[in-house]
């Protein structure tokens, strides 16, 4: 005899994992398009955003239906966490789209001659997303907790890059347009790291039933 309710919960989890893989892929490709000035790849990332949006709607529908069936304990947490994680994934997709738009525009213009620590920042944001999703898959609260402080490092890099670009624009007013693209792209990476942190906090709640949001501020 099939356990139909558990099957519904598992279907929701699987749907979320598929959505997560799309979001992760979008971020990877957006960063690749930005770094490699790949115009075509940038366009593809933008097109993929509709898919991620559709997953968010679908996951919410599945979750609402499951909530009418009165899930309890870890099942209840999973359903509510799934809705929040899917919202964060959708926003990660939006940020990837923003980066892709800037990558598209930057690929049509000459490069700005400035050395930024943006590859390291992108790498950190990407690993945070991957680790957050891995912690969800493995229900690993310790791994989720471990990645949360890394958000501060990404924030610091963003501030540093912002400062560098501001100074460069003052010295080279002809690069303002292109530098603004880089500022927006860096800000999107910083937001992606924020969403990864949010997902990690939800994983902690899922595993331990402890709400750690807003408790780790400096």
């Amino acid at each position: 005899m099939e356990n139909h309710f558990e099957a519904g919960i598992e279907a929701l989890r699987q749907k979320l994992l598929v959505m997560a893989s799309h979001a992760e892929k979008s971020v990877n490709e957006a960063v690749q398009a930005l770094m490699q000035r790949d115009h075509d790849l940038a366009l593809r990332v933008r097109a993929d955003d509709d898919t991620i949006d559709a997953f968010e709607v679908e996951i919410d529908e599945m979750a609402i239906l499951l909530l009418t069936k009165a899930p309890l304990a870890s099942n209840l947490r999973l359903v509510t966490v799934a809705m929040k994680i899917s919202q964060n994934l959708e926003r990660i997709g939006d940020e990837a789209t923003k980066i892709a738009k800037r990558a598209r525009d930057l690929s049509q213009e000459p490069p700005v001659k400035i050395t930024l620590d943006l590859p390291r920042m992108a790498g950190m944001a990407l690993v945070m997303v991957k680790d957050a999703l891995d912690s969800f898959v493995h229900r690993d609260a310790a791994a989720a907790r471990a990645l949360i402080p890394r958000d501060k490092e990404v924030d610091a890099l963003n501030r540093q890059i912002h400062q560098q670009l501001a100074e460069h624009m003052m010295a080279n007013p002809d690069t303002i347009g292109r530098c603004l693209h880089w500022i927006v792209a860096a800000k999107s990476l910083e937001r992606i790291a924020d969403h990864a942190k949010n997902i990690a906090e939800e994983v902690v709640y899922l595993c331990e039933a402890q709400d750690i949001r807003h408790t780790l501020k400096n």
């Binding site: 309710f5 009418t68 009165a70």
Partner: protein, 272 residues
């Protein structure tokens, strides 16, 4: 129950399924029912699809069990009951003069709130109806009984004690045995009147999973007071209030966005 066991019954092969999957199998048209002068059902019109689970919900006294019992004419057994309107199953009016009530109840089985196994062995509980319907050979009986006990998710728990008393089973097992007994004679429709209300959560979950498995083969109408149970197992839900059908529609809609305020108030626990 005794009168449905009168051995003047057609062979199993004559059991007819007339409607196709997705079509209306049960049609109620302006059904009103009176207990003496008291009107328990008021002009109920409702079409139920084949091979779906339909839940009847509503506060006590709303008429949901009364309507359920109309579907296999169980109300015929109560004095001073009068019914107006028509109920068709597979396009045939079940209250027509030429309807054999025994045959009707073979096509429309029923499982009650309180499990009511016969005071016989597990094997005999399922074999009883089969024998009445002409299944005599032991090998045929054995095969069909195993099939039914498997379908009711009971086989693994009772295979080694088929000839023990059914009264020694737990409440949940007894209820699944009653379901096995009901499906043994291959009904088209199974009526369930709060089949899990006396069971613990584990036994309830097993009954619910069983219902979802059974709908591949049977059309199921269930009365329940448990809103979440209705949400878990039914495809369609009908909400009744003081003998009236207030709202009928997909369960998802009834529990997330009902059209009627009375439905909203009931499913959200504001009254009832």
């Amino acid at each position: 129950m005794a009168e449905i066991l009168i051995p003047k019954i057609a062979p199993l092969e004559t059991s007819v399924t007339t409607a196709k999957t997705g079509a209306s199998l049960i049609e109620m048209e302006n059904v009103s029912l009176f207990y003496g002068a008291s009107r328990a059902l008021k002009n109920i019109s409702l079409k139920l699809e084949e091979k779906v689970v339909t839940a009847f919900i509503g506060p006590s006294g709303c008429g949901k069990s009364t309507l359920l019992r109309c579907l296999n004419r169980m109300n015929d057994l109560i004095d001073n009951v009068r019914m107006d309107g028509a109920i068709k199953i597979g396009g045939h009016n079940i209250f027509a003069a030429d309807v054999d009530v025994i045959e009707l109840r073979k096509r429309v089985g029923m499982v009650f709130q309180k499990s009511n196994p016969f005071p016989k062995s597990i094997y005999e509980n399922v074999a009883y109806g089969l024998r009445l319907h002409g299944v005599k050979a032991k090998s045929d009986l054995d095969a069909r009984i195993e099939e039914c006990l498997r379908a009711s998710a009971l086989w693994d728990e009772v295979a080694d004690r088929l000839h023990s008393s059914a009264l020694g089973l737990s409440g949940g097992q007894q209820q699944r045995l009653c379901i096995a007994r009901a499906i043994a004679i291959k009904p088209e429709i199974i009526l369930m009147d709060e089949p899990a209300s006396a069971l613990d959560p584990i036994a309830t979950a097993r009954i619910e999973d069983l219902i979802l498995d059974l709908k591949k083969e049977f059309t199921i109408v269930i009365v329940t007071h448990n809103m979440q149970q209705a949400a878990r197992i039914s495809d369609q839900t009908a909400f009744f209030y003081i003998g009236e059908l207030v709202e009928f529609g997909p369960t998802r809609k009834i529990f997330t966005n009902p059209a009627q305020k009375r439905t909203e108030d009931y499913v959200s626990g504001r009254f009832g």
